[in-house]
Symmetry: D2
Subunit: 248 residues, 4 copies
Amino acid sequence: MSVVRVLGVNGSPRKYGNTFKLLTVALRAAAMEGAETKLIHLYDYRIEPCIGCLCDVQESCRYPCVIEDDMRLLYDEVLKADALIIATPIYWYQPSGVVKNFLDRLTALENMIFVDGHSWVEGKVAGVIAAGNDSGLVMAASCLLSTLISMGFMVPPFSMVGFNTEGDALDDPAVVSDAANLGRNVALLAKLVKGFKGVWYDARLKEWGLREAASVREEAARLREKEIAERMKRIGRLLEGSEPRASP
Amino acid sequence: MSVVRVLGVNGSPRKYGNTFKLLTVALRAAAMEGAETKLIHLYDYRIEPCIGCLCDVQESCRYPCVIEDDMRLLYDEVLKADALIIATPIYWYQPSGVVKNFLDRLTALENMIFVDGHSWVEGKVAGVIAAGNDSGLVMAASCLLSTLISMGFMVPPFSMVGFNTEGDALDDPAVVSDAANLGRNVALLAKLVKGFKGVWYDARLKEWGLREAASVREEAARLREKEIAERMKRIGRLLEGSEPRASP
Amino acid sequence: MSVVRVLGVNGSPRKYGNTFKLLTVALRAAAMEGAETKLIHLYDYRIEPCIGCLCDVQESCRYPCVIEDDMRLLYDEVLKADALIIATPIYWYQPSGVVKNFLDRLTALENMIFVDGHSWVEGKVAGVIAAGNDSGLVMAASCLLSTLISMGFMVPPFSMVGFNTEGDALDDPAVVSDAANLGRNVALLAKLVKGFKGVWYDARLKEWGLREAASVREEAARLREKEIAERMKRIGRLLEGSEPRASP
Amino acid sequence: MSVVRVLGVNGSPRKYGNTFKLLTVALRAAAMEGAETKLIHLYDYRIEPCIGCLCDVQESCRYPCVIEDDMRLLYDEVLKADALIIATPIYWYQPSGVVKNFLDRLTALENMIFVDGHSWVEGKVAGVIAAGNDSGLVMAASCLLSTLISMGFMVPPFSMVGFNTEGDALDDPAVVSDAANLGRNVALLAKLVKGFKGVWYDARLKEWGLREAASVREEAARLREKEIAERMKRIGRLLEGSEPRASP
């Protein structure tokens, strides 16, 4: 089995703070699991904001993106990787603006589904680290996770890790342990699915699904028939006979 | 390879509406992928709200939960399953209260990490379906996904699916296709990881991580040295010489 | 000016923990601002889950709800209040299931907009407190705030307060200060808007808006004309002449 | 009463699409309510990403920010305004990267609390519009609302409005009506609170709160005494006598 590659993306302008530290722990754990790892700092690259081409012409949003900036280097890093760990500082409960621009621009890989039939990141593995002085960890990480999953990444267990108080994140044994497990799990899952050569979005399921839809609709209608009579008896109670009570 | 089991959990009081329909499409696609499937309606069970035992005594929150209600049946369903698809109606941008109570009560499986060292749901696969008449799909699904990932579930590509307009969800080919792919991916990923017999939270990584921490801290400090001088020159600019401008 | 009433709703099963403490600080600050205050524990009431009547018949969801349980008492508490402070424990990054059921059931007040033309909670003031041992504060509070704002509540400055580490929340001076300011601001804003007797959702603005729409559309079209030519030149670049690069 | 000023901020690169249209309807409604209004396009300004100074030196993050770019113009626009309407496209369930950079940079106004004792945006009014082709409206809007509230803005009823399907947002009468009411409510609330000359974060409440804390703690302890005995009897049930059941 060939080696898996894990790309760590650091989205903090303070390049060697808690975000870096937790990401480094994760990448070292991934390496211990046999992965090749690489860490890049987004603040070292010039990443212009997305200009929303796909709203004008869906298929115009495609690799390598019409904007000629450092994302071209980053696209290739992402394409080479089997797994991605995004480590973001928590800025106002969300990823930093730079991480957001990076995400928005990744659309050029995801949107290939409209060009050649599949997202170019599908089947890759992702984990998320979020670090800040204050609350917002889950909000920031959830924004990232739901996006990554929609783009076609898969997410291993326990792969949302963070730190949201002041001080050195490495002083917190639970957080260190969580970051290490995240790195290991990202590499481990990438290895487990590496052999799979099929697709993760099977366009033929649309046809199949629409054929099934008829019988699903029928089944639902039949089952609902009994339910609805009972529900309507209950639901209608306040509608009968009287005007709604005046508002206070 | 033994068959995988996929449990579909329907959290809607309207038992045969869009939530059911999309869940059924997903389960049929999982079955086509070789899974055994089962659909249950949460509204058929009496699920009392969590009473937060773990805040008083961490290890008192454990299977089968001190509350003697129908969750005892549901715990066993979840334990038997390799994968879980939670289908929720979107009530105020979140899962319904019943789904939330179900989630809160699942803590008795996750919190086993404090009793016998690992979450009893770790390594299971999960997907999320959310259906409603109005917006809130992503918020509701993200609440579920971040929770499931933290509990130890893994999440396959494209496994956040929903419908948030009026009408029959089965009339929307893209949504039908998405639900089918979700069901297939949940089963597929469960099959791909089924052979893995290790743990997904390796407690020994805490010790390892703390040993690594020293050198990570050192590396960060060394790299930061150069960065900080430059940063401070820039950062301090507004602090020099003058009072802050009066507020308007 | 008549006195304002502030209702504090405690959603924790541990009735006298951090949720209670922060809520009590907030209510005392509200009282100092001249408000009448009252604290209720949701776990003292029997609150059945919403059964989603409005999806079957929109206007059947109305005060006092077809479900005959203790929400009938709570509806009247909410209707009497000028302001609401919801204090929830953080359970899996969201409000507790009991708080969620309470919210879902409040729909019977909000949905009066389809019965007599306005939400019965519109113009009331709301603040949110979330307390837990772990992260999720912002996610839980945001779920509540976005819901309350959509229902017709208004939200004063700094009215999202929480605590998400272990220990006694009252030992953290910043959190105590935040809770006090939340309570004061909720009462203060309720006083400032008390004199306003108009509506906060003016249905006549629909007609007005649709009339304006024509000229807005025209203005947008005119301005867009120049923009689109330039955009298309840029956007189309990758579409010209060549096949999309093969996927990796 | 002097006139109120409402600043509309358009965060879309497609400057005259749905985001613009809904924002324009809102601003016209605000004008009808007597406000002076102004619309700016963020994509017309050069906004560098935040570099996180406050994590190094808290009070170094202050107006007018060490970064010398077009935010200096935007800070002054925000300071002059009584109310802000942020209209963002929905990019991956969140505000666009440009809106995020704008938000992050607003910290220089909010963080004045550490310089001269109060957030320079406190007491201003805010509303949020989010427009996209797909889901994510509530997630994107909630990110913005929770941030704005934490910064010191207040939020009127119904001030989270959006559109998340394809087509012209102005063709949807409900959305047009919502946008108009948002604009009106933002102006209306700004007028209602305009006369208030006090502060919205009273630092003296920290001292007061800490004095109250003693008696709150005492009250909680006293009430908890009865509760805890009963809880422990219930909670401890699974801990007694037996080993935890083996995991499956």
